[in-house]
């Protein structure tokens, strides 16, 4: 499929459409409405859009107050500033208060590119996943972004959704229906499971094609709903394939890799490798350069898949020899 869409743009356009359908949706931004794409909404609904200036803590508090007043606020800024600068405001007021605030943060991960390490959020999923009441979403393409944004508008409670700067190939068709707490299997396979999120779902699909050529059938899972987590699908995948690789545009600690490891080590210990950024900050460069530099590629996923498959075989051999 040749169509490419950006998750941030699809969010912005969907939000503007939702503004027509729901009179109580309001949008907020912190001086980045052109980047986060809330400007689509702002243009149409001038009195329902609030720019807070460069003040992310105030952004979250104001969104909380609007929710308390019966509105459905969508608050957007870069992922780094939303979850980093304003983490405690999100915790104290939005999560602890269980308020109906939708935090949609753009420019997550390394693919921010040239802006460098200061702007590359590699911790946001960890910071949001640890909060009670918070739903954490990372769409992998345009249709999923549209479905998640629509779902968030109707769900009562706090939601964090990460969008990205890059355009991505379209995976789903427009009939895709998002179900909270459910991952989706994009490709079936019995030898190894590749679990991706966001940008890395595409790298997992590419890796699966390479693995197929080498005789390994990979199941590919898009775990776009990081919280609540689809632990049944994770355990089922481990049971069926006996080996797992996770891939995320995030630190390997605290995000997808951690979440999957936690589930499997408690419920179904399985050979596993995590692809992601390893305890180091980002740097300036082209998105593709950065993904390669930090090892977030289909090649790395493929190599990791071979490794976990070997460990699976070694374990079986050892067990048989016991």
């Amino acid at each position: 499929m040749s169509t490419k869409e950006s998750t941030r743009v699809e969010y912005g356009k969907t939000l503007a459409r939702l503004g027509e359908e729901y009179a109580n949706i309001v949008a907020l931004d912190a001086d980045l409405s052109g980047s986060t794409q809330t400007h689509h909404f702002a243009k149409i609904f001038k009195d329902r859009f609030f720019n807070l200036g460069v003040a992310e803590q105030d952004l979250m508090g104001t969104a909380a107050g609007l929710a308390l007043g019966g509105k459905i606020p969508f608050a957007s800024t870069f992922a780094m500033f939303a979850t980093g600068r304003a983490w405690e405001q999100i915790r104290q007021t939005i999560a602890y208060g269980n308020l109906n605030v939708k935090i949609v943060a753009s420019h997550g991960g390394l693919t921010v590119g040239e802006d460098g390490g200061s702007h590359q959020a590699l911790e946001d999923l960890a910071l949001m996943r640890i909060l009670p009441n918070m739903v954490v979403l990372v769409p992998a393409d345009g249709p999923e972004t549209r479905a998640m944004t629509r779902w968030a508008a109707t769900y009562q409670g706090p939601v964090y959704m990460r969008t990205g700067r890059m355009t991505l190939p379209v995976i789903y068709d427009d009939h895709y229906r998002f179900e909270p707490g459910r991952g989706s299997v994009l490709r079936e396979g019995k030898d190894v499971t590749l679990i991706g999120i966001g940008v890395m779902v595409h790298a997992c699909l590419e890796a699966a094609a390479t693995l197929a050529a080498a005789g390994l059938a990979a199941r590919v899972v898009n775990l776009s709903c990081l919280k609540p987590l689809d632990w049944e699908l994770i355990v089922d995948s481990a049971r069926v394939t006996g080996a797992v690789v996770t891939a995320e545009e995030h630190m390997v600690t605290g995000g997808l890799g951690s979440a999957v490891s936690e589930v499997l080590s408690e419920h179904f210990p399985t050979p596993l490798r995590r692809i992601g950024v390893r305890d180091i900050f980002g740097t300036s460069g082209k998105p593709e350069q950065l993904l390669k530099h930090y090892g977030l590629t289909a090649d790395e996923i493929t190599a990791a898949a071979h490794q976990v498959c070997r460990r699976k075989t070694d374990n079986r051999t050892a067990a048989a020899g016991r």
Binding site: L52, D58, G61, T62, L68, G70, K71
Partner: protein
Amino acid sequence: MNAIPDADQLKEIARQIRLDIIEMLFQAGSGHLGGSLSAADILVALFFGEMRLNPEDRCRPDRDRFILSKGHGAPAYYAVLARLGYFPREELFTLRRFGSILQGHPDSACTPGVEIPTGSLGQGLSIANGLALATRLDGHRGRVHLLLGDGEVQEGQIWEAAMTAAHYGLDNLVAVMDRNRLQIDGHTAEVMSIEPIADKWKAFGWHTLEVDGHSIPELLAAFQTCRAVKGRPSMIVAHTVKGKGVSIFEGQKKYHGVAPNEEEYRQALKELGAA
């Protein structure tokens, strides 16, 4: 609702609220005494004189709203809510206990009448701004009230929110600052100067008043003045005494966050004229 009580009646309510605060903290064995006593008259003037509330219809969308940004003033807030009938008065004496509806700091999930959790300082003004914006969008008459501490305005978010309230011309918002001059580590002037505080609010575009925060008539008159202000938010700097009402607690920083012991408790009851 009944007719608004007169100034003498409000003063009597404030005395009883102070007695409740002393009893609650003594029974709890911990809690924030000084800042609860300093805020008592402000809260009484607001809840019994200024605000339109109906505990029987507590979810009315056009109700007046209140946010206790200085969440550690919870004992005074709870005593007021109980007296208004949001929950039975006996609950006051479960303060801070496991399973109580009255948490150490306000939690809207536990306590009827509390709008939003507070306790981490500096966040209430942003929330009040959001509420004021929502109220205005809906065309409701309801006004939004907020109580800030004075140490609390050392938080940077307060000044972000101060800009926002003025930028959006939130004339349906009234903030009161409990200027009791003490914070945990000592005098605000020594820990981190905030003066000239009234000038700061003025410079941020706020309609700013200064009152004696223990004079209920002055507070009521100030609220009345704020109602007439158009296009700007209002700040009432209420000069207060930390620990007000009990001589041994007044102006003493050690009573910021401790409960009275047996001897102090007896003296407090005596000074406040307990029956």
